[in-house]
């Protein structure tokens, strides 16, 4: 058997087995906590779910009432010697149990929408993914080249960055109304919000990454006879590509965080529409299912991109990541 590293060795790599264990635990622990709170009644359960209303007329089976209210009613019934209400401890409606969310997760994809105008969950999701894709792609098409130029040429950086620094402090959702006025109520303003949320950070981050390229590489290229644009295209760009790719991965995550706001603008659509709609009907199991779905999409995309990065940039030494 291979020797395993002590668990708390400072900045030492763990064995593969240890890493896998920890990765599983990082998901397992929150789920365990959730399960404990859901299935072990004495831990929390601040509500009582009515099973048998007894003599209390306003109670209905399945109703959730506060523990204190229920105790009061039981007291009253005891004093009046009438039938006691019966109930079991329960959690508030906003915290469904794991198995309920799991079922909702499954049924959300299998249940037909209640109205013909409504979308299936997967249709909502697909719509959201398209919004992200276009917002992020448009931002990258402009933001990445500007960022690289800012990081390479001081003049361009001085011309662009002060304004961008100013603009990035303006919250993207503040432009919602403006975007609707200009771009209409459908997908246009939503894509614009993702764009605004991503673009300004993107330019600054990419510029910074570009500046971090070792000057010695540029000097070496100069002594080898590289001139102006050769420096940009043959040294700067290939030199920063792995880091640029990593930045884009992080920025894509940020684009997702703007999604919910973006989709509330104009006509509500996509996964946000699904979430708000389900919350209105108090189907919180569906809300959790949708939120978890977003998380899964995010993590899977990131893992795929990380694998792609490794394949695209084989010269990159193993980054210390664990």
């Amino acid at each position: 058997m291979s020797q395993s590293t002590p668990w708390f060795a400072v900045r030492q790599a763990l064995t593969k087995k240890q890493v896998t264990t920890l990765t599983l635990l990082s998901f397992f622990l929150p789920i365990l906590l959730w399960s404990l709170v859901s299935y072990v009644p004495f831990l929390w359960h601040p509500k009582v779910e009515i099973v048998e209303p007894g003599s209390v007329t306003w109670l209905k089976p399945g109703m959730l009432v506060d523990k204190s209210v229920f105790a009061e009613q039981q007291q009253l019934a005891t004093e009046q010697k009438s039938a006691l209400p019966e109930g079991v401890g329960a959690n508030p409606i906003y915290l469904p149990a794991p198995h309920e969310v799991a079922i909702a997760f499954y049924t959300a994809f299998t249940t037909e929408p209640t109205r013909s105008s409504e979308q299936w969950l997967h249709e909502s999701l697909w719509h959201s993914i398209q919004i992200i894709f276009w917002g992020f792609t448009l931002s990258s098409l402009i933001g990445v080249p500007i960022g690289v130029l800012c990081g390479t040429y001081v003049a361009i950086s001085r011309l662009q960055e002060p304004f961008i620094e100013f603009f990035r402090y303006l919250p993207a959702p503040a432009f919602g109304a403006l975007a609707v006025a200009i771009l209409g109520i459908h997908d246009g303003p939503k894509i614009a919000i993702i764009f605004i949320g991503t673009f300004f950070q993107q330019v600054l981050i990419i510029a910074n990454t570009t500046r971090k390229l070792d000057v010695a590489l540029l000097e070496a290229a100069l002594t080898l006879g590289a001139k102006k644009f050769q420096l940009l295209f043959r040294v700067v760009i290939p030199g920063i590509l792995p880091d640029l790719f990593r930045d884009q991965r992080i920025l894509l995550g940020w684009a997702w965080t703007y999604l919910i706001v973006a989709e509330l603008i104009g006509t509500s659509s996509g996964i946000t529409w699904f979430i708000t709609q389900q919350a209105r009907y108090k189907n919180f199991d569906n809300v959790y299912a949708a939120i978890i779905m977003i998380g899964i999409i995010g993590v899977v995309t990131d893992i795929l991109l990380a694998k792609l990065g490794k394949r695209l940039f084989p010269w990159e030494k193993e980054q210390v990541k664990a």
């Binding site: 000097e219 290229a221 002594t223 590509l241």
Partner: protein
């Protein structure tokens, strides 16, 4: 400064001085004229280099040594065109140089291979910048890679190579451009002692076989004596040429010669130049403290 009496071995035999006379008759490749460099710092103007004058001749191997902070690196960066001088000029084949160019190859102290290119592509880089076709650059590059003995690693990436191998590729990459002079800024400084002496032998072998002039910066006296025809000694504050020493150790040299009388005499002379006898006050003070401590220990022991 009082004139130091020359040890007899530094006095050149007729054969040696004939060798240097012949060397100095060769065409001048690089000439440095009244070169000065000043920096503006928070403490005011700092003179890094002052009134530097020297020439290197074709196929000559010149080493530059000096204490840290004497402006060795600034000097070589100016020669490469990466920095501009405050005064004076640098002439390459009698033409002033202002900017970096492939006519002056440079090997840096740190590793500057392009990590996204393999060994072959790294060596091809300069040729392609010069407009060579891919095919001709490739065959040319392979020649140079063979010369530095890395043919088996042509397709490896820099991160797969050891430090010494990386510097060999850097040498091949600089030489592939057929520069007039090869500038080397403490290229073996980061290597372990064994690798370094192998690299030195390697470099001498390359230098003997091709038509190249070398200007090599180091702070290692043994390295300078082993490699150089002439050694330029810089002194610090401001960086000025202290002396230009002709190394009388005959070629081909061998690492065994490190204990030969010529070698030791040259080394002694260099040490005197870099650490003049008058400036040893601090060191003496330190010596005294050490002695006192030892004395105390002895007393306690008794």
């Amino acid at each position: 400064m009082t004139k130091i009496e020359l040890p007899s071995y530094l006095e050149q035999s007729e054969a040696v001085s004939a060798r240097f006379d012949k060397l100095k008759q060769r065409e001048v490749i690089l000439e440095v004229k009244n070169l000065g460099k000043q920096f503006n710092s928070q403490q005011g103007v700092v003179t890094a280099l002052k009134d530097i004058n020297f020439k290197t001749h074709r196929r000559e191997f010149v080493c530059v040594i000096g204490p840290s902070g004497c402006g060795k690196s600034t000097l070589i960066r100016i020669l490469a065109g990466l920095e501009s001088p405050s005064s004076g000029e640098v002439l390459l084949d009698n033409m002033p140089v202002f900017e970096p160019g492939p006519d002056r190859g440079m090997v840096f102290q740190g590793y500057t291979l392009f990590p996204w290119l393999n060994v072959k592509q790294n060596v091809m880089f300069g040729l392609e910048m010069q407009g060579a076709t891919k095919a001709s650059a490739e065959s040319e590059a392979l020649n140079w890679i063979e010369l530095v003995g890395l043919d088996r690693f042509a397709d490896s990436y820099p991160h797969q190579l050891s430090g010494g191998m990386k510097q060999r590729v850097a040498i091949a990459r600089a030489l592939a451009n057929k520069p007039r002079i090869l500038l080397m800024d403490e290229p073996f400084g980061a290597l372990d002692a064994q690798t370094r002496s192998k690299m030195q032998a390697n470099l001498i072998e390359i230098w003997r076989n091709i038509d190249i002039t070398v200007l090599f910066i180091t702070h290692d006296l043994d390295e300078a004596i082993y490699l150089a025809d002439r050694i330029l000694v810089l002194k610090a504050n401001p960086g000025e040429v202290e002396e230009l020493i002709e190394v009388s150790v005959p070629r081909p040299r061998h690492t065994d010669q490190i204990i030969s009388p010529e070698f030791l005499a040259t080394k002694k002379r260099l040490e005197e130049l870099i650490h003049p006898p008058g400036e040893e006050d601090d060191a003496d003070g330190l010596h005294m403290i050490r002695m006192a401590q030892v004395g105390d220990d002895v007393e306690v022991m008794e």
